[in-house]
């Protein structure tokens, strides 16, 4: 019973994450759909921007998910998993840094 009470914030987090993911998918899908349609009819700067925006939102969604998890674990004082989640965030940040370097120097 005690176990369940302490789990409640994490259950709420799980639901919050579910909503976050749904918003991310809907937003990026919409950007993709409009961007793709525009691209096929009148390809140009607008369609390119929409498509890239869709991709960025798509990639940002799991990122946001990890950040929300970090915040929640820290808030609940669950240091073991806060650390694990922070480690994941570090790897993701590393990917972004490497990608930026490639884009900058490429």
């Amino acid at each position: 019973m005690n176990d369940d009470r302490r789990e409640l914030p994490f259950l709420l987090m799980e639901q919050r994450l579910g909503r976050l993911l749904a918003v991310g998918v809907i937003t990026s899908s919409t950007l993709f759909a409009v961007g793709l349609a525009t691209e096929m009819v009148a390809a140009g700067l607008l369609s390119t921007l929409l498509l890239h925006a869709g991709l960025l939102v798509l990639m940002a969604t799991p990122f946001a998910r990890v950040i929300v998890s970090v915040v929640e674990y820290v808030r609940e004082g669950d240091w073991v998993f806060a650390t694990a989640t922070l480690a994941v965030l570090a790897v993701l940040a590393g990917t972004v840094v490497i990608a930026l370097r490639i884009a900058w120097l490429g």
Binding site: D3, E14, A22, L51, G54, L55, M59, V91, T95
Partner: protein, 273 residues
């Protein structure tokens, strides 16, 4: 890039998404060979596009299963440390490897996946005595079939971590989800019930894909119109799969897809000569 090509990618994405959510894997393992062999795209481009669909599949499925405590968030996050590290490494390697090398890797992985699909190991793994504590990495959820709560405990964490590392690396290297390796391992060797393993894996693969995708993006390997088409197809397809999927857990579908993958594996191998 003709409209027909774009539409064919949407269609294939839908097929991959439907198959993926029905069989409990990301559709990448079907999408990559289509992009590579049928459309003739370079291997890294095929992987890059597929990686974006993995993110989409993960987000869709996780949004659907969230809130039921089926997703083992703690286990997922812990394994994620190594899968994302592997994913980044795989993603970087993919930029350096030749098409032929990537094709050979894909052929091998496709064959392994086919064999895994053909094997019948499924462990129930639930403990019905609810007074047993799940421990930090186990879980408790409501099981629909038995109508009650069930508990499970994680076994052999080091093994789970090892599999997660391999799956993450393959994911980053080839653009597939990696779930097809994680789910059987968690279920067969680590004491996780199939549903929980599938939900946790679906939750994880999105983050793994994001550990590699930015690198592909920066290298210009994600062809936007096609990636958008693929994602839209996969999102639509996986919704269809989620709705009708449970019934179609038919053994014959798994068998058929395993055969398809074996064919793909051989085809890919032959074409590298």
């Amino acid at each position: 890039m003709t409209d027909w090509i774009v539409l064919s990618v949407v269609a294939m994405g839908a097929v991959a998404g439907a198959l993926g959510s029905t069989l409990g894997l990301g559709g990448g393992v079907f999408l990559v060979p289509f992009l590579r062999q049928a459309l003739g795209l370079p291997a890294a481009v095929a992987s890059g596009i597929s990686l974006t669909t993995v993110i989409a599949t993960s987000s869709v499925v996780s949004a659907r299963t969230a809130g039921r405590q089926l997703i083992n968030m703690r286990l997922g996050m812990l394994l994620q440390v190594v899968t994302s590290a592997g994913g980044l490494a795989g993603g970087l390697a993919a930029q350096a490897f030749s098409d032929r090398t990537l094709d050979l890797h894909f052929s091998a992985v496709a064959a392994v996946v086919a064999v895994v699909m053909l094997s019948r190991l499924e462990r129930r793994n639930v403990i019905c005595d609810l007074s047993v504590a799940p421990g930090r990495l186990g879980g408790r959820y409501h099981e629909q079939e038995s109508g009650g709560d069930v508990v499970y405990r994680l076994k052999r964490l080091p093994l789970a971590l090892a599999v997660a590392l391999v799956a993450g690396s393959i994911s980053g290297l080839l653009g597939i989800g990696g779930g097809i390796l994680i789910v059987p391992a968690l279920n067969a060797w680590c004491g996780v019930p199939l549903r929980a393993a599938a939900a946790t894996s679906a939750f994880m693969i999105g983050v793994t894909a994001v550990s590699a995708a930015p690198v592909y993006y920066a290298e210009g390997k994600i062809l936007l119109p096609l990636a958008a088409a693929a994602v839209l197809g996969v999102v639509a397809g996986s919704h269809v799969g989620l709705r009708f999927g449970d019934r179609a857990r038919a053994k014959w579908l798994k068998l058929l897809m395993a055969m398809v993958l074996l064919t793909v594996s051989i085809l890919t191998l032959v074409r590298t000569r």
